[in-house]
């Protein structure tokens, strides 16, 4: 009878694996026999990884020099003293001599390091206008409000590049000289100043505004440089491919650091005789001292370093792995002891019943 077929069990639920919750499922039961090997294995793996990381970090050579110029620390003190006045900075230079007893294996990277510089301060880190930096002509003359108070000069001219980050551009410069033999002449080591920024930064994010009559200066007409800058942005470098917003030093600087102590790449040493590293000998770093850091209690450092497969020197990662791995193994042993002890007791209980 048809009606009975339809009416029968009109409310009867479907008997499927899904509705009856019969779908295959697996829930690990963390018994001692699973958990203990798991802990030991994890511990061993972590220790192995930590050792690898630690040794590769250990193998990285670093050479750093604080040239802030605190009194009695080298010949940059004079510059530092001059800097204290905070007058329009003098062109002060100082030098750092060092000698390498053996080859500093390459490729060698030259960094500058600043400490106590809170680039991560929110108001500082948002004080930029990315549309302006991407070369949009309309944005060039109308910097974003986030740039205030470095949005417009008192004269009303828009600042290009606007904002506090650009205004605080690191403007010390270094040159490296090598004396092969004692008493010999200092030969300048070629520093590769290109290719220190991310490719996407200087090819996509940072673009110069379109040239006017083939001149970058005309393109920036109607703008003013940031108040701290001695010269406009289009004169950052004589190289037309490395000036304006796409100047690599500028691009590197504009990528703000997350921590108050940070390094930024200044140059790579990979040309000529120095592609394999810095050979032994005496070296001189000529520093043009401009950047005032003593006001906020900061330090300026110059750093030579090479890298490994895991990047720069970073002993922390390896140590962290080692600590976690050892903790795992320690816990494994503790649990093993607990397991063995209380297993016996359980057996006794069962026997008692």
């Amino acid at each position: 009878m048809t009606w009975s077929a339809t009416a029968r069990g009109a409310h009867q639920p479907d008997n499927t694996a899904f509705t009856q919750q019969r779908l295959p499922a697996w829930q690990p039961l963390l018994s001692a026999s699973i958990a203990l090997p798991l802990f030991f294995c994890a511990g061993l793996a972590f220790i192995g990884l930590g050792l690898g990381l630690f040794y590769s970090s250990y193998g990285i050579k670093e050479l750093e020099y604080d040239y802030t110029g605190n009194p009695g620390t080298g010949n940059c003190s004079a510059c530092a003293l001059a800097d204290q006045d905070r007058a329009p900075p003098l062109r002060c230079s100082c030098a750092w001599y060092f000698s390498l007893p053996e080859l500093f294996p390459g490729p060698v990277y030259l960094y500058y390091e600043l400490t106590n510089f809170y680039q991560n301060n929110r108001r500082y880190s948002v004080s930029r206008d990315d549309t302006q930096l991407s070369g949009l002509p309309s944005a060039l003359l109308h910097p974003a409000n986030e740039c205030a108070p470095y949005q417009r000069r008192a004269s009303g001219l828009p600042i290009a590049p606007c904002g506090a980050i650009a205004n605080s551009l690191f403007n010390d410069s270094f040159s490296l000289w090598h004396q092969r033999q004692p008493g010999g002449p200092y030969v300048e080591v070629p520093l590769d100043r290109t290719g220190i920024a991310w490719w996407t930064d200087c090819h996509v994010k940072f673009r110069n505004p379109p040239l006017v009559n083939g001149s970058l200066a005309l393109a920036f007409q109607g703008t003013a440089p940031p108040p701290n800058w001695p010269r406009p942005v289009y004169e950052l470098s004589p190289d037309p491919n490395n000036t304006g917003f796409i100047n690599q030093d500028f691009v590197v600087w504009m990528r703000t650091a997350a921590l108050p102590t940070f390094r930024k790449l200044y140059a790579r040493i990979r040309q000529g005789n120095y592609s394999t590293g810095l050979p032994r000998g005496t070296y001189l770093v000529n520093i043009t001292y401009n950047y005032p850091v003593r006001a906020f209690g900061g330090h300026k450092l110059i750093v030579f370093s090479n890298i490994s497969w895991m990047g720069g020197k970073n002993p922390f990662l390896g140590i962290a792995y080692l600590v976690v791995g050892s903790l795992c193994i320690l816990m494994g042993f503790v649990m093993l002891v607990v397991y063995i002890r209380y297993q016996d007791q359980n057996d006794e209980d069962e026997d008692a019943e």
Binding site: S4, H11, P13, T19, Q20, F117, Y124, S168, F296
Partner: protein, 1139 residues
């Protein structure tokens, strides 16, 4: 369904609601202008009243409402009184198209989570503190709001469509212009309209019944759409109108109805009808037809609308889903608050640190950027801004998405619970219903379970088992055997489902659950209507050969309807001859007196009830006088004369077959019944050998029935063992009884088995076919219906043979025993005999109760006409008063029901539901304490408790049934002491190894104890001073049985345990008396059984059978709890650890 009355309105329906609304009013105004304005004299105020929906304040906002006919002669009066009442349009939607966006937003922002989101988004728009891109922070909020708005919109649209469907149902409303009833939509029905309904139509609004085609002015309605009860209820035409032969003429109706203001009490309606001559007629709920019910068994009815639309009782009762907070959610809430605290602390730390750090670099313009105007912000202010910025940055710390996720997960859990095939009950075609959406995980945390007995643990299928008449016990051995054989038959039936009979009953039964939701209002009953229609069609197709019994009457499965008479009682029964009523002399010999008692007993069984008689082959067609045998019965006097004539003639001739005109078939049938009966006993000869004792092991030992009785009538010559009735008497066996309670039906069926068949019942008369006496017509003078306070019901009839006014009372034994006459007027011997009967009956009653039977006492009282007239006068006064009517009626009943003569007692078995003992065992094993709270007497309750393994045979049972508080206290302390001595370890020992699961062995080693407490003692135990001791005592017991507990006590017990022990409680019940308990408990479970839907309506979960509780709690509850708690923990982990 008929086409809508106005073609225009059908067109409108497709438009949006807003348009419809406007055009609807416009058309009404236009329409009323076009159609001679007497049809709908609408005032603007009434339009506003119905349209505004929210501000419907009738002019007479007082206690009463006045309803005048909605016709022109009373136009002024109508506008004055009834014009402002809401009309019958219903609107359950929350929104209109215009106010959807603002209102929905308003509703949504009532939730703390959304408000928090909004706060964050707004905070982000403050430039000083902004942390993210403004637009991006708006995104999640907008998405959440949109999704919920779409969901709400769809839900509302569905409601709107249902409303539209209901509003456009068609009914017949009297139109003065056309001087007849014309079709109108439900929504156009107004208070004061006259409505005419035919059989099986749904009532569109609450109306007072003024006319019924039934000659007695009765109308039957089925309220399954309202409360799910499948039995029929009688409604009565207003007094004074029933006598009119012709249909009430609205033109001439000049009375005014005054009644109470709309309220949601389905069982109360008070008011009066005032005629133009200031004569008042009382109105009660018996006169009120409720919206959403269906007219049954009555060709046509007419009435005047008193409440319409949202003011009908059905709509006022329409409450939304329940909302309870689960324990886990409450816990999660406090944890969220801790998170808020953590957030504030973190933000404060951040802000403070920022301020301090900034003060060091106050004048360094390098990275401490000044304001645009060149000022440097002070560190304090910067710290303050930082605080708000931090709040935006750390917003994820507060797991706001937790709430949304919990809700979604719970929806999924409910889906899984509802689609569990194990909860499916084939017989009722129903599965579990989750009515509360968010306490699924509490199911897994239940510690105390409070259960009702009747209908919950037991089937509530009443089976007549034994009776005691005039002090003699008739134990109905054969009937017991029959029951056993049925059990097997049923289990076989369940296996073979392809038989047409079975599929028939399966098809017919889905009706009940499908119409369960009151929420749908009339729609629910509409579908029942459809089903009933198809069923009746089916019935006619099948003809009289197949009896679709399950549809025809509640409580009428064959197990309940077929009773095999006890041979001993039958013998005595056959002695009933009409001579008994010829007044020979005053001193009636004892055996004769006993026979008289037997006769009265069966008459009482047959008539002392409110059973409706119907014939199955004409579904829902009541057997009235018209359909009885052609004999025109004019008056009782005539019958009596006729009867006496016959009896004289018959007494001279010993042969029974001699000329018996009134009911010629009866003696033959009786004889055939007897032979049939003897045949039937042969049905299972093997069983007869093996079964004695196995049926009722604990009771058969002291049975006073001679065991050799069975063999007396057995006739080996008749081999076939058919139980089908012989063709000689088809009509008797095909009668169907529809009773309000299963006990009643069981008793009527029992009486039928003894040839005392209830043939028809009208408000004026009851016709009973009595074996030797033929058809007796009792003039029904009065019915005092059953109520839980009196615990009894009475009928007052004029006995056709003795012509005396006789009161038959049936009720709980404790009540009846108190009302028995102490000093009988008939002399000392009778008095003594009555005393003996009383003692014996009491003994039998105790015995019945021990066997777990429900006992009822039957008593009678003979009144003189003068007494009756006196009582009637007082009763009439009570009936017509509006205030204090209940008290007055109770008092009146007390005046009638006293000085009764005990006739006998009945024992009805309430069979245990399938799977109950196993479920209870499993739940107890799971550590859930189970209490049984029942209104039944102690012996019955204890017996059932043993049967369902709540108590075990080895348990030590303590019974607390003291009559005074002091005694109760003493007894409790004695029991407690004894228990503590037996169990050296205190009941809740401080576990030596906390945290380890307590081993079950410790429980087993202890003594198991059960506590039985009666209602009276419970009353004391619940008092403030004894509560503590009581709880301490119950903590020592594995099971507690509370008997004779009132519904209020049940809820108080639950409340006491819940509040003092701080445990999760669950209450399960099926009847109206469990509602309060279900509402008080943490989780209320209703069993959708036979006792109506009140319990289900009040419950959080509704299951079909008790045995489903095990899986619901132990499997689903466990799953829900672990899954949800894991999810919540993970959410906190994710939100606190990961940002």
């Amino acid at each position: 369904m008929r086409a809508p009355a106005y073609p225009g309105s059908a067109r409108i329906l497709d438009m949006t609601e807003c348009l419809q609304w406007a055009r609807y009013h416009w058309q009404r105004l236009m329409g009323s202008r076009n159609r001679d304005d007497d049809e709908r004299p609408y005032s603007y105020s009434s339009l506003l009243a119905c349209g505004g929906k929210s501000s419907q304040t009738p002019k007479l906002a007082g206690k009463h409402r006045v309803v005048v006919p909605h016709l022109r002669p009373f136009k002024d009066e109508y506008d004055k009184f009834s014009g402002t009442y809401v009309n019958n349009r219903i609107r359950t939607t929350k929104y209109t198209l215009l106010n959807f966006v603002p209102r929905n937003l308003f509703e949504q922002f009532h939730r703390a989570a959304n408000l928090y989101f909004l706060f964050l988004a707004v905070l982000n728009w403050v430039p000083l503190v902004e942390a993210f891109q403004k637009e991006i922070t708006m995104l999640p909020l907008v998405v959440v709001l949109t999704i919920i708005a779409i969901k709400d919109g769809l839900e509302d649209y569905r409601k709107y469509k249902i409303d539209k469907q209901i509003n456009n149902l068609v009914t017949q409303v009297y139109s003065r212009k056309e001087k007849k009833y014309v079709d109108q939509c439900w929504k156009d029905v107004a208070v004061g309209d006259f409505i005419r309904l035919s059989c099986n139509e749904v009532i569109p609004a609450d109306m007072v019944l003024l006319f019924s085609t039934d000659p007695d002015g009765i109308c039957h309605i089925e309220t399954s759409g309202l409360d799910g009860e499948s039995n029929l209820k009688q409604r009565q035409v207003v007094r004074g109108y029933a006598e009119q032969d012709s249909e009430v003429d609205p033109e001439k109706f000049s009375s005014k109805i005054e009644c109470e203001s709309p309220n949601n009490d389905l069982n109360r309606f008070r008011g009066y009808l005032e005629h133009s001559n200031k004569e008042r007629v009382g109105l009660s709920k018996e006169n009120l037809l409720l919206r959403g019910c269906t007219i049954r068994n009555t060709e046509a009815v007419a009435g005047i609308v008193v409440y319409a639309g949202h003011e009908t009782k059905a709509m006022l009762n329409n409450s939304g889903p329940r909302y309870k907070r689960s324990k886990l959610e409450r816990r999660a809430n406090t944890d969220v608050l801790w998170c808020v605290l953590l957030l504030v602390v973190m933000c404060l730390t951040g802000a403070l640190g920022h301020g301090i750090w900034l003060s060091r670099y106050e004048n360094i313009m390098f990275f401490n950027i000044p304001e645009p105007d060149g000022h440097v912000i002070s560190p304090v202010l910067a710290g303050f801004y930082m605080f708000w910025t931090m709040i935006i940055l750390l917003q994820v710390l507060i797991p706001i998405s937790l709430y949304v996720s919990i809700e979604i997960v719970k929806l999924g859990q409910i889906y899984f619970i509802q689609s569990d095939v194990d909860f499916y009950n084939e017989k009722m075609d129903s599965t579990v219903q989750c009515r509360a959406l968010n306490i699924t995980e509490d199911l897994g945390q239940i510690q105390y379970l409070f259960s009702d007995k009747t209908g919950t643990l037991t089937e509530n299928k009443m089976v007549f088992r034994r009776c005691s008449v005039a002090g003699f016990d008739y134990c109905h051995e054969e009937n017991a055997k029959r029951l056993e054989s049925y059990q097997e038959a049923i289990s076989e039936d369940e296996d073979s489902t392809d038989t047409p009979v079975d599929s028939l009953s399966n098809m017919v039964k889905p009706r009940a659950p499908s119409c369960r939701s009151v929420h749908n209002g009339p729609l629910g009953s509409k579908c029942s209507n459809h089903l009933a229609g198809s069923c009746s069609a089916l019935g006619s197709r099948e003809g009289a050969s197949e009896v679709p019994h399950s549809r025809q009457a509640a409580f009428s499965s064959p197990i309940e309807t077929d009773v095999v008479p006890d041979t001993r009682l039958l013998d005595k029964f056959s002695q009933i001859t009409p001579q008994l009523f010829t007044p020979l002399d005053e001193t009636i010999p004892d055996p004769l007196l006993e026979t008289l008692y037997i006769m009265d007993f069966f008459i009482a069984l047959a008539i002392c009830n409110t059973v409706v008689v119907s014939a199955p082959n004409q579904p829902r067609q009541k057997i009235g006088l018209s359909s009885l045998s052609g004999m025109p019965i004019k008056s009782l006097e005539e019958i009596k004369n006729l009867f006496q004539r016959l009896s004289v003639r018959r007494s001279s001739s010993p042969s029974l077959a001699g000329g018996k005109e009134p009911s010629p078939g009866v003696p033959n049938a009786f004889v055939s019944r007897l032979s049939l009966f003897s045949r039937m006993k042969l049905a299972s000869p093997v069983e007869e050998e093996t079964s004695p004792g196995s049926e009722r092991p604990q009771g058969s030992g002291d049975s006073p029935c001679p065991p050799d009785m069975e063999k007396q009538n057995s006739d080996p010559g008749l081999p076939e063992g058919e139980t089908a009735p012989s063709p000689g008497q088809p009509s008797t066996s095909t009668l169907c009884y529809e009773a309000e309670s299963p006990d009643e039906a069981a008793l009527v069926y029992a009486a039928r088995a003894y040839q005392c068949t209830l043939r028809s019942r009208t408000p004026e008369q009851v016709v009973v076919d009595f074996a030797a006496l033929g058809s007796l017509t009792f003039q029904l003078l009065h019915i005092l219906p059953f109520d839980s306070v009196r615990k009894r019901m009475s009928v007052v009839v004029r006995h056709p043979l003795s012509n005396q006014v006789v009161v038959y009372t049936k009720g709980a034994d404790s009540v009846i025993m108190e009302l028995l006459s102490v000093a009988s007027p008939d002399g000392a011997s009778l008095e003594k005999q009555q005393m003996i009967i009383r003692e014996k009956t009491q003994k039998h009653l105790d015995d019945y109760a021990r066997r777990g039977l429900r006992t009822l006492c039957i008593a009678k009282k003979v009144m003189s006409d003068a007494e009756y007239a006196e009582w009637l006068r007082n009763h009439f006064l009570a009936e017509t008063s509006i205030d204090h009517r209940e008290e007055l009626l109770l008092e009146s009943a007390m005046r009638l029901e006293n000085k009764l003569t005990l006739l006998g007692a009945t024992g009805i078995e309430d069979r245990l539901q399938e799977g109950v003992p196993e479920s209870i065992e499993a739940l107890q094993k799971a550590g859930i304490k189970i209490w049984m709270l029942t209104g039944d007497k102690q012996e019955t309750a204890v017996n059932i408790a043993y049967a369902c393994k709540l108590l075990e045979a080895g348990d030590k049972l303590f019974i607390l049934n003291t009559q005074s508080k002091d005694a109760c206290e003493r007894l409790m302390s004695t029991i407690l002491k004894e228990l503590q001595e037996k169990n050296p370890a205190s009941p809740e020992p401080p576990s030596p190894r906390e945290g380890l699961p307590r081993l079950p062995a410790t429980q087993d080693s202890r003594l198991r104890a059960g506590l039985v407490i009666t209602g009276k003692a419970l009353e004391f135990a619940l008092q403030e001073s004894l509560q503590r001791q009581f709880l301490e005592l119950t903590a020592c017991c594995q099971a507690v049985v509370c008997c004779r507990a009132t519904p209020l006590q049940k809820s108080e017990v639950v409340k006491l345990v819940r509040n003092h022990l701080r445990v999760m409680t669950l209450a399960i019940g099926d009847g109206a008396n469990d509602v309060s308990m279900i509402q008080v408990a943490d989780i209320g479970i209703g069993i959708s059984g036979q006792e109506g839907m009140q319990a289900v309506m009040a419950s959080d979960f509704a299951i079909a059978q008790f045995k489903h509780l095990g899986k619901l709690l132990l499997v689903h509850g466990h799953w829900c709890y672990t899954r949800l708690s894991n999810m919540i923990l993970y959410f906190f982990y994710k939100n606190v650890e990961l940002p």
